[in-house]
Symmetry: C2
Subunit: 208 residues, 2 copies
Amino acid sequence: MLARTDRTTLRQRSHRGSYDEADIYAILDEAPACTVAFVEDGRPVGIPTAHWRIGDRLYVHGGMGSRLGRAMAAGAELCVTVLLVDGLVLGRSAMHHSMNYRSVVLFGRAEEVTDPAAKEAALAALIEKLSPGRYPHVRPPTAKELAITRVLSLTIAEGAAKARSGPPVDDAGDMDRPVWAGVLPLSLARGEPVADPQLAEGVTLARP
Amino acid sequence: MLARTDRTTLRQRSHRGSYDEADIYAILDEAPACTVAFVEDGRPVGIPTAHWRIGDRLYVHGGMGSRLGRAMAAGAELCVTVLLVDGLVLGRSAMHHSMNYRSVVLFGRAEEVTDPAAKEAALAALIEKLSPGRYPHVRPPTAKELAITRVLSLTIAEGAAKARSGPPVDDAGDMDRPVWAGVLPLSLARGEPVADPQLAEGVTLARP
């Protein structure tokens, strides 16, 4: 259970919140990408980026020249936001429309992974997140490739998950209104794999 | 075409960027939600929230007590980040794994919509985004409901879109590696509508 802090104490609909690692980790693991926000010249900047998790640490990576990578490597305060939209909630009244979702907001500072073996292990975990079992089959990074890639990690220590699920919650006086009410589910669905046009003959996808 | 500013000039893979309103609007309209980042006590905070667009303005809403709503209403500098993940790109080498995506990053300050009629019109546009043609059928907001809801809008003037699409771009020396390469497409897909268990008998969904 993560400790609550002033900035992770939910002020709106706090019954929808959770500080439980299991809830937080499940959302982080399902989402392919997050927004990392930092402050630059006193103003907020939020950059979308892929993320992954190893134990109680969240990882991101990027090129050496990226604004986000430089800010993170310099120890900037960060806010990581992850959102999974699960559905559109259509109520009988305008104000009871909502969204079903699961989100995580984390705060902290990142540390740069500089040891080449640790860097490769972290990147391997990203590829395993994208496609489990894949890493042993791809060409591993060269020393030069590792050198031009920044890998950063943040301890998952200060943050909270928040979620809404279920049907709309309408006012009693609106229940007989002759308008459809319910949820239009949304999910990040996988389509049919699209092979690289240059794929060598006879190579098949073991598992997507 | 939005004017480039220092903070919207893309530093990484700038060929993937666009300042064209049509590109930016299309991404904003397709995504159900964004992250709005602001600075609180010198530190970044990124909050996920639903958004919608009317012309050249982006809208969000929230309760009067919300941290985000208060910061926005107070004229805080904001960064709005929208991300659509289109696929996982599996390369033949570890470093050529990537993601297909479309994103928008906007900067600016919000203005609060205070006129009740303008507020209702803005909220109607949100409901029309969720389900086109729906607004005339729901109960409109009361004066009290409007009074406890904050609606804010931001001119879409400083920002950029960025996107990646297509197969992995592998090194020539890796092309014969016997590992599947290509794209695992992802999209935010709609499932079968789930009617509210308390839906009045005989009410059907005209169009989801």
